[in-house]
């Protein structure tokens, strides 16, 4: 199988280049990550992140034939050759397929990604109805892979000012949690021409999420709540 992979090692290379590889797949190689590891066995200098190899840890986000995805759950049989692999777009490249995610996590941290409830907790659990709990489905499952934010044009242009779809999805995860008391602070935190309102509902994010989550919808719901509290 033929591959063309983005290579860049700041210690050696003046600028990035594409390197071609041809690899013989073996019995049992099904996912893109399997093939990349065969390449890495031939050329140990190829850099990428990986861990769970089952789509739950969010390590191996990359741009695969022009579309962001997780290599470990991208079937090889669906890929057109040569498979073109690039790092996630819009973030600084550290080396090869490894990007600097600091900006992405900074935005995640900026939405206060934790439950806020200053009432002393009861002796047992805080009660929550199954229906209220259901509101968190489609939100809490995010693996922070950054596939969405790095396919969002608004995030490319303003990664320091626009929160981006992944972190906005998490912002809504806490707004939607009946146990959280900080909804109005959370909305204040986003009420700004950039932080939330740079989203122009282009839908790239929802289209690309490898976990099938829909940040656009969550962003819509935050905007709704903002409108609601204005009237």
């Amino acid at each position: 199988m033929k591959f063309s992979i983005y290579r860049y090692n700041p210690e050696k290379d003046d600028k990035p280049y594409m390197q071609d590889y041809e690899v013989e797949l073996q019995h049992g190689d099904r996912m893109l990550l399997d093939a990349i590891l065969r390449i890495k066995a031939m050329d140990d200098s190829l850099g990428l992140r990986k861990s769970c190899r089952e789509g739950v840890c969010g390590s191996d986000g990359m741009n695969i034939n022009g579309r962001n995805g997780l290599a470990c759950i991208t079937p090889l049989k669906d890929l057109k050759e040569p498979v073109i692999l690039r790092p996630l777009p819009g973030l600084p490249v550290i080396r090869d397929l490894i990007v600097d995610m600091s900006q992405f996590f900074k935005q995640y941290h900026s939405i206060k990604p934790y439950l806020v409830n200053d009432n002393p907790p009861p002796q047992k659990e805080r009660l929550q109805s199954p229906e209220d709990r259901e509101e968190l489905n489609g939100l809490y499952e995010c693996v922070l892979c950054a596939c969405c934010s790095t396919s969002c044009p608004s995030f490319w242009w303003n990664p320091d000012k626009f929160v981006g779809p992944a972190a906005l999805l998490q912002a809504y995860r806490f707004i939607a949690d009946t146990r959280d008391d900080a909804t109005s602070e959370r909305l204040d935190n986003l009420e700004d021409p950039y932080r939330l309102f740079r989203c122009h509902t282009i839908m790239n994010c929802a289209d690309v999420c490898p976990k099938g989550l829909n940040p656009t919808e969550a962003i819509g719901k935050i905007k709704e709540q903002m409108v609601k509290r204005m009237v």
């Binding site: 090692n9 700041p10 210690e11 050696k12 019995h27 049992g28 099904r30 996912m31 890495k40 066995a41 050329d43 140990d44 200098s45 850099g47 990428l48 992140r49 990986k50 861990s51 769970c52 190899r53 089952e54 739950v56 840890c57 969010g58 390590s59 759950i73 079937p75 049989k77 550290i94 080396r95 090869d96 490894i98 995610m101 996590f105 941290h109 206060k112 990604p113 934790y114 439950l115 409830n117 907790p121 002796q123 047992k124 659990e125 805080r126 009660l127 929550q128 109805s129 199954p130 209220d132 709990r133 968190l136 809490y140 499952e141 693996v143 922070l144 806490f174 949690d177 146990r179 959280d180």
Partner: protein, 588 residues
């Protein structure tokens, strides 16, 4: 060469469930703590846990921590230490409620309480009937828990060193642990972290096996660090296997498939479980089924070009049943085995899942090791270990499902609390020995200097095949003795590896070479301890010694890296407040 140095009260190596729980306790108390992780914390393998967290909340039926304690001891095949087990089961409800208060999105019952589901081995009233004890967030409990703990640490302003790999412990001349040496992956720089105390929370080492449900990063680094520093490893012969992981991929296929009527076949198309378990057949207990599959493979009736797996057939159930009852399994089979179970069988193999052994500790998380010939255990000052890398021992010879996530919470918190007290009476940092970083620097300079040598991928493959074949589900003296010989060969090769890539920036080849050194240590400990234990108990099933032998083997093994020597210490059968549970024959 002078290395730069940073100073903390406590360094925690590991940002999985156990490391994050301990970090929270310390950070919220205002201590200066640093958490190291090879990956961004939410990518730690706790994220993959599915089923639930065990705690006798009694939300579904009446339940009691004492029943949980009994189930855990019986599950451990009586090798678990009863003081630690009582401690864990008593604390379970408290740590689960806390996790809920932190924001954990547990599933809920109509009355608003946490939903609990049934799990293997959990019972009411000392084995009378099943009880729903596993607190769950869908089938993503580990993901929900790990993210919640990370989030709470963000709130507590805990300091993280993300994508740093700890290389070695630093022990001073009196044996006190005074910090670690660590490597920053992005820059390749090596830094000394001086600390009053160090917690190892590096997770399991399931990657010593060819077929494993574990992540690539589960390489037993904490075990390697401890062993190199002279700390013994406890009960390393005990590894839990799940009968049906997808062959080659390791992703789990639930027991529910066989519950619906799926059957296991060998290369001759024979339903071989009828020979091993005439009554229960494919639905016998996990260890029995795993042993059956392994025996078929060893006798040459495995399937595939390497004859290394068997088939799980369920097409006879029909499309309707499969789509209705097993849609998730169909998705996994399509994704990871490239087969549609409606038409074809799924290739499966017993899959290494969990490491019961580890770094010996007490229930405060303090690392303890025998000192002197009498074998009395003494605390190694400054060193703690928690989570899957530790052996406290609550899981003994066989872990009960849901007890690991619980172990992370209980002992993570307990170590944090103990350290908060300890730090009060130990306000000073001790001096670093002048050879603090020597061991790490030697390892690195050997790798940097090696122009030719063994290929990492090949040595790793040889190690995994050796452990899989010789210390699998089912063991014999001959197999184990051969395995010990082979793994020593592999260990020699691992000391002679070479990588082509010598650059400093995010050199993943170097990381993998360092990880391999740790894996090989764990592999050798496993084979040596298993060879010596001439009995069958829990996960150690010996064909040449089929029975449990309480007279000679009701004891923990301790493996020392130096000389690959074994020692033993007694099982603690004395709980904290209740009466001891005496060893009995184990029937379910």
């Amino acid at each position: 060469m002078a290395l730069s140095r940073q100073i903390f009260d406590t360094v925690i190596v590991g940002g999985g469930g156990s490391g994050l729980r301990a970090a929270l306790q310390l950070a919220e108390a205002g201590h200066h703590v640093a958490v190291f992780s090879k990956v961004f914390p939410t990518r730690s393998h706790t994220v993959a846990a599915q089923g639930g967290i065990g705690a006798s909340l009694g939300n579904m039926q009446e339940d009691h921590w004492l029943w949980h304690m009994y189930d855990t001891i019986k599950g451990s095949d009586y090798l678990g230490d009863q003081d630690a087990i009582e401690f864990m089961c008593r604390k379970a409800a408290e740590v689960v409620y806390e996790l809920e208060h932190f924001g954990m999105p547990f599933d809920r019952n109509p009355d608003g309480t946490i939903y609990q589901r049934p799990f293997g081995g959990h019972s009411q009233n000392f084995g009378e009937r099943p009880v729903q004890r596993a607190c769950a967030a869908a089938d993503r409990t580990g993901h929900a828990m790990l993210h919640t703990l990370y989030q709470r640490n963000v709130r507590a302003h805990c300091q993280f060193f993300v994508e740093w790999m700890a290389l070695d412990l630093i022990r001073d001349y009196e044996g006190v642990v005074v910090g670690i040496v660590a490597l920053e992956m992005e820059t390749g720089q090596v830094v000394i972290f001086q600390a009053k105390s160090t917690i190892l929370a590096t997770g399991g080492a399931g990657r010593i096996y060819h077929s494993s449900t574990n992540a690539f990063i589960n390489t037993g680094d904490g075990l390697g660090m401890a062993a190199r520093a002279g700390v013994p490893l406890e009960d390393m012969e005990f590894w839990q296997f799940h009968p049906t992981g997808v062959a080659g991929a390791g992703v789990l296929i639930t027991e529910g498939v066989r519950g619906e009527g799926g059957i296991l076949l060998n290369s001759e198309g024979e339903r071989f479980m009828e020979r091993y378990a005439p009554t229960m057949k494919d639905l016998a207990s996990r260890d029995v089924v795993s042993r059956g599959i392994d025996q078929e493979i060893k006798e040459g009736r495995g399937v595939g070009p390497e004859k290394d797996h068997v088939l799980l057939k369920l097409d006879h159930l029909g499309a309707e049943v499969i789509n209705k009852r097993l849609p998730g399994i169909r998705e996994i089979a399509l994704k990871f085995a490239n087969v549609d179970p409606i038409r074809e069988p799924i290739p499966v193999v017993p899959t290494c899942h969990y490491q019961m052994g580890g770094i010996p500790t007490n229930y405060y998380g303090q690392v303890v090791a025998p000192r002197g010939a009498l074998g009395t255990s003494e605390v190694i000052p400054g060193l703690y270990a928690i989570g899957e890398c530790a052996c406290v021992s609550v899981h003994g010879a066989n872990r009960l499902g849901t007890n690991s996530l619980l172990d992370l919470l209980v002992f993570g918190k307990s170590a944090g609390d103990h350290l908060c007290e300890w730090l009060k009476t130990n306000p000073q940092h001790r001096d670093l020995p002048h050879d603090a970083a020597d061991r790490s620097m030697e390892r690195l300079s050997r790798l940097d200097g090696a122009q030719s040598g063994e290929n990492i991928t090949e040595v790793a493959q040889a190690m995994r095949r050796t452990v899989q074949h010789h210390a699998g589900v089912f063991r014999t003296g001959t197999l184990l003795r051969e395995g010990v010989e082979k793994i020593r060969e592999v260990a020699k090769r691992a000391r002679n590896t070479a990588i082509k890539d010598k650059s400093r920036v995010f050199n993943t080849a170097r990381i993998e070479a360092l990880e391999l050194e740790n894996l090989v240590i764990v592999a050798e400990a496993t084979l040596v301890a298993a060879e010596a234990r001439t009995e069958s108990r829990g996960a150690q099933a010996r064909e040449d010694f089929k029975d449990r032998d309480d007279k000679n083997w009701l004891k923990h093994s301790l493996w020392y890296m130096e000389g690959s020597r074994l020692d033993y210490k007694p099982v603690n059968l004395q709980p904290l407040t209740v009466e001891s549970f005496e060893p009995k024959v184990r029937v379910y």
